[in-house]
């Protein structure tokens, strides 16, 4: 057995950096495309609604690990030489956009119909109606679920370890193999994830309770 010293700890922190970066990139990319998907999903155009519904259904009906593999090897087939980091980031963006799109679709539909009617009566066109009236309210409604998904996404980045990307979990595996102290190493790795995820979960559930009280 080897000791867990400063070097091992620094290696884990290096991995943590990639975990956080992946989660942030996935969340921002997913946020941008997710908004688009939510808007298309709630649009009047039937084709757009069907296509986005299909996309959400496929992403939510298949394992994240398979999405990682398909995108990882799929991007390589396109003949462009991209590094693992880009491929994995693209996969998480696609994954997050479907989940966030579905969460935000629900939130947009949860905004009372009268708001849309009032905006129409005021002569607001689509862009202004969405940007100034519906989306700000929908964003507020969606907050608990959005935070919940951010936690899920952060945990999900660990699967990048299986395609060989060195983030926190993969760094833990490497150190575990070097030091033969799997329980200690995975205990530490788990604790680091917990320190990131738990405050988010807590904030999300606090918000949910407060909003439930306000709605009553």
């Amino acid at each position: 057995m080897g000791p867990i010293g400063e070097d091992q700890f620094l290696f884990l922190m290096q991995g943590l950096k990639w975990t956080v970066l992946l989660a942030i990139v996935g969340f921002i990319g997913g946020g941008i495309f997710g908004t688009l998907i939510a808007l298309l999903r709630t649009s009047k155009n039937k084709v757009a609604r069907t296509i986005t519904a299909g996309y959400i259904g496929v992403v939510q009906g298949t394992p994240l690990l398979m999405q990682l593999f398909v995108v990882y090897y799929g991007v390589a087939l396109l003949g462009i030489d991209v590094n693992a980091w880009i491929a994995v980031a693209v996969a998480f963006t696609l994954h997050a956009s479907a989940f966030l799109g579905e969460i935000w679709r629900g939130s947009i539909e949860a905004v009372p119909k009268g708001q849309t009617e009032a905006a129409n009566a005021l002569g607001l066109h689509y862009v202004s109606r969405m940007k100034d009236v519906i989306l700000p309210q929908a964003l507020k409604i969606s907050m608990p679920a959005t935070i919940g998904f951010l936690v899920q996404l952060t945990k999900g980045t660990s699967l990048a370890a299986i395609v060989g990307f060195i983030e926190l979990t993969r760094a833990g595996q490497i150190i575990s193999n070097q030091t033969y102290r799997p329980l200690l190493v995975f205990g530490i790795v788990g604790a680091i994830y917990f320190i990131i995820c738990w405050p988010l979960s807590y904030a999300g559930s606090r918000l949910e309770k407060r909003m439930a009280k306000a709605a009553r």
Partner: protein, 221 residues
């Protein structure tokens, strides 16, 4: 230009079929264990002992705020140290059950809390037995209330089984990885297997919807 060759994958169809059955088996066993842990957890969560209640809350929070992959590695290495030697597939079922169980505790608790006190009192006032009150007034409406979230959690659990490949459990993703390393047809293999997962989860969703239509098809008011 890359030419797709799905033939190399389809040649291994029997392996994919067995892998799919492994996945379904893993998922069903995991769901069952998750349900048992969920029910026991809810009982423990309302225990008179503060320590028991705190332990359940801590279990739920730790499991829900750490990745399944880290959990399965931890369990995989922890069991032998406790003198328990199991094959990877059984270890995977335990990990899936523990993970799903933590979510089930929260879901079931929410369902029981949704049954109002007044309804239970009304049941007693009508002269129903304690067992009947529990079965008809608490359990059935609570089951109906939690059914959508519980079943979507079960679908998630089914998709999560793919992570069990990391400890070489017997399921579809590990079959895919074997085929990939033999044929080097990475994209074709994972594309096919993704489609199989979609079929499995769609079938399950259909089945859950069917059960719900038969079982909970009564008016609420």
């Amino acid at each position: 230009m890359y030419t797709f060759d799905f033939g190399a994958v389809l040649d291994r169809a029997p392996e994919l079929l067995w892998g799919s059955l492994g996945t379904v088996g893993l998922a069903l066993a995991g769901m069952l264990l998750a349900l048992v842990i969920g029910l026991l957890g809810v009982v423990a969560r309302s225990s008179k002992s503060g320590i028991t209640r705190a332990a359940v809350i801590m279990f739920v929070e730790v499991v829900r705020n750490t990745p399944f992959l880290v959990q399965i590695f931890f369990i995989y290495f922890a069991l032998p140290l406790m003198g328990i030697r199991l094959n990877p597939t059984v270890t995977a079922i335990i990990a899936l059950g523990i993970n799903g169980g933590a979510y089930a505790i929260e879901i079931i608790r929410g369902g029981i809390e949704s049954v109002s006190r007044g309804q239970i009192e009304a049941g007693f006032a009508l002269g129903l037995h304690k067992a009947d009150v529990f079965r008809l007034i608490v359990l059935k409406p609570a089951l109906r209330a939690i059914y959508p979230s519980l079943t979507s959690q079960f679908i998630m659990l089914t998709l999560t089984t793919s992570v069990c490949t990391s400890i070489a459990a017997y399921e579809l993703t590990s079959a895919a990885q074997r085929i990939e390393s033999d044929t080097f047809r990475s994209f074709e293999v994972y594309f096919t297997v993704t489609a199989i997962y979609l079929a499995i989860s769609s079938l399950m969703m259909g089945l859950f919807a069917l059960i719900s239509r038969h079982y909970f098809n009564y008016p609420t008011r």
